[in-house]
């Protein structure tokens, strides 16, 4: 067992435990905080995978924006009695069974595919080169500029949509214009 493997196991354990806490925590704010931990763990894993840029992006976007957003949403949708009472619906056992089955199916799938025991080869490029290459790739006409642009449009649309949807409705006497 090398050091890396131990680190990996540790980070993995934290991530999975935090994930389990996310889905089983009765209080949503706690679940959100556990989510932050999960996201951090994933960022750490990115670092382990030598995708440093993505780790930073993970922290900045996911933790810094999305998790905060989720906490906002939790706050805004609080009701007095929401946080108590069961947090799972009536089909939770079917969900558990489905999840376990899926996990099992995936494991079976992995066992059938060869070449998954490979280890890494050394990265030929330096981290700066990778980031540079990533940036180039995203705007290169021959490569990924189209998904990049589409993603930006998507973000724009999402932004506008979110604003429109979440606009407070008590602007005029009649409630209309809610999309």
């Amino acid at each position: 067992m090398t050091t890396m493997q131990l680190v990996f196991l540790l980070i993995g354990a934290i991530t999975l435990l935090s994930a389990i806490m996310v889905v089983s925590s009765p209080r949503l704010v706690h679940a959100a905080l556990w989510l932050i931990l999960v996201l951090a763990g994933v960022a750490a894993l990115f670092v382990l995978l030598e995708a440093g840029f993505l780790a930073v992006v993970q922290v900045a976007v996911y933790i810094g924006a999305i998790a905060i957003l989720i906490i906002f949403a939790v706050m805004l949708t609080r009701r007095v009695m929401t946080d108590s009472g069961p947090q799972v619906n009536s089909n939770w056992w079917a969900a558990a069974v489905a999840a376990l089955l899926l996990f099992g199916a995936l494991l079976a799938l992995f066992s059938q595919v060869s070449g998954l025991a490979a280890t890494t080869s050394a990265l030929t490029a330096s981290p700066e080169t990778i980031v540079d290459d990533l940036g180039q790739a995203l705007v290169d006409v021959n490569r990924y500029v189209l998904p990049f642009e589409v993603a930006s449009v998507l973000l724009l649309a999402a932004m506008i949509g979110a604003i429109v949807i979440a606009r407070p409705s008590a602007r005029s006497t009649d409630e209309g214009g809610e999309q």
Binding site: T2, Q5, F8, G12, T15, L16, A19, V22, V23, L28, A31, L35, V38, L39, L45, F46, E50, F53, L54, V57, Q58, A65, I66, A73, L76, T77, R79, T82, N89, W92, A95, A96, A98, A99, L102, F103, F110, L116, A117, T119, T120, S121, L123, T124, D133, L134, A137, L138, Y144, P147, A151, L154, L155, M159, G161, A162, I165, A166, S169, E178
Partner: protein, 102 residues
Amino acid sequence: MIPLSWYLILAAALFCIGLYGVLARRSAVAILMGIELMLNAVNLNLVAFWRYLTPSLIAGQAFAVIVFAVAASETAVGLALIISIYRRRATAVADEINLMKW
């Protein structure tokens, strides 16, 4: 050193936990959190494959970046929806938003 399969198993586990969260949680926000877990598992998968199989091709990372963007926008819109519904129906519990029930 760390075989690819370990990453994949981890991602699969994360995915399944997220799936459980989506299917089993009452609150809509909790469901969204489950979706975030699933997306993160996907990202992890992508980056792992990039690192282990095609480190010279930047496509894996580019794909992951796009997934980031999509996840963000989807979360934003979803939360906006939940807030809007909460305003209307005073509830964020998925089961209670059942106007489509026959």
